[in-house]
Amino acid sequence: MSSEKWNVTFEVYRQVPGEKPHFDEFKLEVNPDEYVLDGIERIWAFWDRTLCFRHACHHSTCGACGMRVNGIEKLSCITLIRDVTHDGGKMRVEPLRNFPVVRDLAVDMGNFYLQMDAVHHRPVLPVSEASIEKPEETWSPEYDQYTRLSDCIECGLCISACPISGTDPNYLGPAVLAGAQQSGLSRSPQVMGLVDSENGLWRCHSVYECTAVCPSFVDPARRIMDLRKMVLVERVRRLFNRPTRTELRIEETRK
């Protein structure tokens, strides 16, 4: 890290439940190679202990510190100050959109987590089932004893960036649909009914902003499009009274 120093004004969204929101300004001397979360923690530590925000791991694994920085969704723990402002510049920090604000920068993600559960998204999965770029033939069943964290860290950035999630409170949203594509469909036929619905994958308007802001390379937009293909195949199979692939997969798992 360089010894360079920048003077940056943090404009921080403040909101107490039941009151109108406003912005508080904090002028900080920072190293531009520090992260946005470092600045916010310093504001909390030395300026205002009432500032409320979520954070945990500091290395983009927990997904807790998602915020909007200058209007764009970022994981504040891996967003360099240098990348979002300049010396003498301002930086506006706001909570994620489309989630109820608990206070200041902290949002309530309870309903989102319930929806992830409803589509049977697995935060941890056998390494052989991980959807990472891999030559399939190099993986053998013995690797099933190992598990890895799922790519999706449930940070909610994609839900905040999606314009449809902003106008339709019932829309499942990119992360939930990606979760269904990734692991849900192979585990429960009910998931098909959930995603192939008015508020499911047909509500997506192909904006691709979910993929643009995803810090974990889940590529929710591609997964939603893939899910559409899967749903269409299932519908055609049902039309000809053939068992759906989901049913076949579940039967296979039972064996």
């Binding site: 489309n98 989630f99 109820p100 106008t167 829309y171 192909s206 902003e209 559409r228």
Partner: protein, 130 residues
């Protein structure tokens, strides 16, 4: 824990028209909404103009004389441009919606919008010089 400032609401549709700071997909989304509204408005205006036919040839001829000025021609160029943008972007969305060329959606948008721009320019030159 209700929060009227941050929760999803149909009243937040104005966000659809603000792609500033966002990636190409958001610009394509906003363009499609704007051109759709413009084309819908034009459709109704077109129906009103056709209604002039019912008032006889004089009313229609007077209207035709009125629209032969640069402001109206510019309006017609906008309609043509909206048609190209909406149609070509719609093609991209139709393809990617079923999993075709999803990784290429960004470059596809740029190429199609360049085509829409060139086609609109050709039409504009022809319409203003006719």
């Amino acid at each position: 824990m209700s929060d009227i400032y941050n929760t999803p609401s149909r009243r937040r549709f104005l966000q659809w028209f603000n792609p500033l700071g966002r990636k190409e997909g958001s610009w394509g989304f906003s363009l499609n909404r704007i051109t759709a509204l413009g084309l819908t408005l034009y459709l109704y205006m077109h129906l009103v103009v056709l209604g002039l036919l019912a008032r006889g040839p004089d009313a229609y001829d007077n209207f035709l004389a009125l629209i032969h000025n640069p402001v109206f021609i510019f309006g017609e160029v906008l309609v043509v441009a909206a048609g190209f943008i909406h149609g070509l972007n719609g093609l991209r969305i139709a393809l990617t919606s079923f999993g075709i060329a999803v990784p290429q959606q960004r470059s596809m948008l740029i190429v199609l919008m360049v085509i829409a721009g060139i086609a609109s320019l050709i039409f504009a030159i022809r319409m203003f010089t006719a």
